[in-house]
Amino acid sequence: MLSRVANNLFWMDRYMERSYGLLNLIKTNYNSTLDSGDYSSWNKIMFTYLAIRSENEYKNHQDSISTIFFILFDKKNPNTLINMVVKARENARSVQEHISRELWLSVNKFFLHLTEEDVILKYRKSDPITIVNELLQFSHIYYSVADITQERGTAYCFMNLGKYLERVVQSIDFLNLRIISLDDKKEDLYESYFFKNLLISIGGYQLYLKTYKSIYKIENVVKMIAINENFPRSIIYSVNKLNVHIGRLNEFNQIKAGELNFTVGKLKNHLKYSTIESIKQNGLEQFLDDIKFELNKISNSINKTYFNQIL
């Protein structure tokens, strides 16, 4: 497979994963503003996801609805949903001979839906949750179509590298931005809606309830998101997947990627033998920094090994 094609497959899934994360975040944040009445929670999202540094950049969006429309449809900011789907689709378009026809159709339909002339007009009349749910359907279709139609070859591996690298970055950001500043003494922690929305936004609410019942503790949240191997959005889950797909890629293409294998294997084992106690010992921040450092190495190594890009 061409290096350029491999790179485009990687980014196709990265953008799809990122847009999925963004949609989930919009939904839960909107929900939580309904409960709390606090619109400042959008600032954090604007900062992390859309790289908006100052409030001046979006001062016209002081209510949830217009903020949501900005995040979904602004054409100038490169990190809005529409621009990410445009990029995902552009990548898909250039790798059509490597993805299933059905997968291409699903990305293209998502794109066509967002770029339809009257979509904003139509959406102005509906409720944000309905809008986001409708858009989430496109993501769900994308994932399931990829699952049942894409052959498990080199292309699939590159798509998964993109998907899980993006997902692990999102999970780290989640812990970094939403958990690290919390301490158990903060009052509103005990408001159940806070934890509920927090967990819903990363898709872990049900699993949390099953595992820890209705007892909200930061420790438990960290444990689930960092080192629960069965939670599909946990750090360890994504890293394990990265390890699997790198292994397959090297096997399929007979590549000896010593450095990459070593780095990803090391991170995998580091997570495997981490416990909530060991995380607490060094502090969550240090724990996350270490992972980020290793991920950077992995990412550079992927570029070098497969995409012919020497940085």
Binding site: S3, V5, E97, N108
Partner: protein, 480 residues
């Protein structure tokens, strides 16, 4: 007969594919006549809507440039197929094979011994002053002596129903993906009508193309790639479709590297040698060392690899000399000269404006003439004598005076029409036909069908997609 057929107004002095002069439906269209006579306009419109949506979802689009931004448009499609009977198709097929054979021999000749010039069948000036004649190709041995691997010969039908060749597209003719998609959609639109007609399939075009390309090198499993200028090219959809259906890599110039005069592509597992390049970029952009020095679309040094026989370029560079509009008028002579045969398909009478007698004739009959640049394409830079004002004609002739050998004139032919559903009416529109022929080391294969291009505007003769032309499916009926 319902209103739909009764309100169909044929163009005067024009052959209609479906109706004869008296307005009766031709035999080959009898099933369609019956279908249309019972059809409701609303349901035809629904079919049209359905096909538009189908093309959109599939991403069957071409890019038009507007305000520095590429906008993707769907290629206008008409739902009523054009039907060709098996006898006529046999003639078309033989005629195209004959033409391509002669043109290929011509290319071999003009880039080597030039017998046809020495025997004064074609004037040398036509080659010497022609920028399509590439000196880089002289004495270069092309694999299996084939230059014109893929060609799309444009055919039109005059008012008497006779077929003529309008031009031979031997560079990188496009449109074949629309031929394939049009068939996909008509299959959905006419689940009952299609089986009755016993239409010859076109779907195996990519397989035939692959098989034919494979014969170009003596290797069991050659690495074939399709070279595209990239995502923003107007025909990108076609490039992806062909690559996908042939199962070959779609590469851009930046994916290729040259090593020891061999071409490699950069893959995730290292460099891989390329044997055959089906390129969809023009000669000019192929190699900055040999042609346009500014181009980054091709690969520097590829011509040397080609010359050494390490890679096969499809179509060969320099085929433009054979589909040049001035050379066109000599094709019947070529067929006679190289094959000692009579041309099966007719040429349109062509006048050379470098010849003063012919120029005078053209000037006197300007109302019936169209003047074209010999290196023009896409329907641009033409003068339609019957539409132009006297001033426009004067200005055009001044242009001709500067470089008369760059212009030819032809009588304006009324292209045949076919019924189309446009703006909720059944109306005639002018069409042409572009069948695709593939030249492998064994023989030339012509795909049974092709692209029927449609001039979507009323009374227009211009079918080019860049100027608002559309297309319809072409059904070639199987022989009983």
């Amino acid at each position: 007969m319902n209103d739909l057929l009764a309100n169909y107004e044929q163009y005067p002095n024009t052959w209609d594919e479906m109706f004869d002069d008296s307005g009766k439906v031709r035999t080959i269209y009898s099933h369609f006549g019956k279908f249309l006579s019972e059809a409701k306009l609303d349901s035809l419109n629904q079919m049209k809507e359905f096909s538009n949506q189908f093309f959109k979802n599939q991403g069957v689009t071409f890019t038009v440039y507007h305000d520095n931004k590429g906008v993707e448009r769907i290629f206008p499609f008409d739902i009523i197929p054009r039907i060709i009977n098996s006898n006529e198709w046999e003639i078309i097929e033989k005629g195209i094979i004959q033409r391509i054979t002669a043109l290929n021999l011509f290319l071999k000749d003009v880039y080597h011994e030039k017998f046809i010039i020495k025997d004064e069948v074609i004037p040398a000036s036509l080659l010497i002053n022609n920028h399509c004649y590439l000196r880089q190709m002289m004495r270069l041995e092309v694999p299996k002596n084939i230059y014109t691997h893929i060609s799309g010969v444009d055919l039109i039908r005059d008012k008497n129903g006779e077929l003529f060749v309008l031009e031979d597209n031997l560079r990188t003719p496009s449109g074949v993906s629309y031929m394939l998609e049009n068939r996909e959609i008509t299959r959905r639109l006419y689940p009952n009508l299609m089986p009755i007609h016993k239409v010859q399939p076109v779907d195996n075009y990519p397989q035939i193309l692959y098989q034919q390309l494979k014969t170009l090198v003596d290797k069991n499993d050659p690495e074939i790639v399709l070279l595209t200028p990239g995502l923003y090219n107007s025909a990108y959809y076609e490039h992806t479709t062909l690559a996908r259906l042939m199962g070959v890599e779609l590469v851009e110039g930046s994916d290729l590297v040259l090593d020891n005069n061999m071409v490699f592509m950069k893959t995730a597992s290292g460099n891989k040698k390329v044997d055959i390049i089906y390129r969809r970029i023009d000669d000019d952009f192929l190699d900055p060392l040999s042609f346009n020095t500014d181009s980054i679309l091709g690969l520097a040094g590829i011509m040397e690899a080609y010359r050494q026989g390490n890679v096969c370029i499809v179509n060969a560079p320099g085929t433009g000399i054979a589909d040049d509009k001035a050379i066109y008028s000599y094709v019947p002579k070529m067929i006679n000269y190289y094959l000692n045969e009579k041309p099966i398909l007719k040429n349109i009478e062509t006048y050379h404006l470098s010849n003063s007698e012919q120029k005078a004739y053209v000037k006197n009959n300007i109302n019936d003439m169209v003047i074209k640049k010999t290196d023009g394409s896409g329907g641009y830079g033409m003068l339609m004598g019957n539409k132009a004002s006297e001033d426009e004609i004067d200005i055009y002739f001044k242009q001709i005076k500067k470089n008369p050998s760059n212009f030819i004139a032809q009588p304006i032919l009324n292209l045949s029409t076919s019924p189309c559903v446009i703006e909720k009416k059944l109306v005639p529109r002018c069409i042409d036909l572009r069948p695709f022929a593939i030249y492998g080391s064994e023989k030339i294969k012509v795909c049974p069908g092709g692209l029927s291009r449609v001039a979507m505007k009323k009374k227009s003769l211009i079918v080019n997609s860049s100027q608002g032309g559309g297309s319809k499916d072409t059904w070639v009926i199987r022989k009983h």
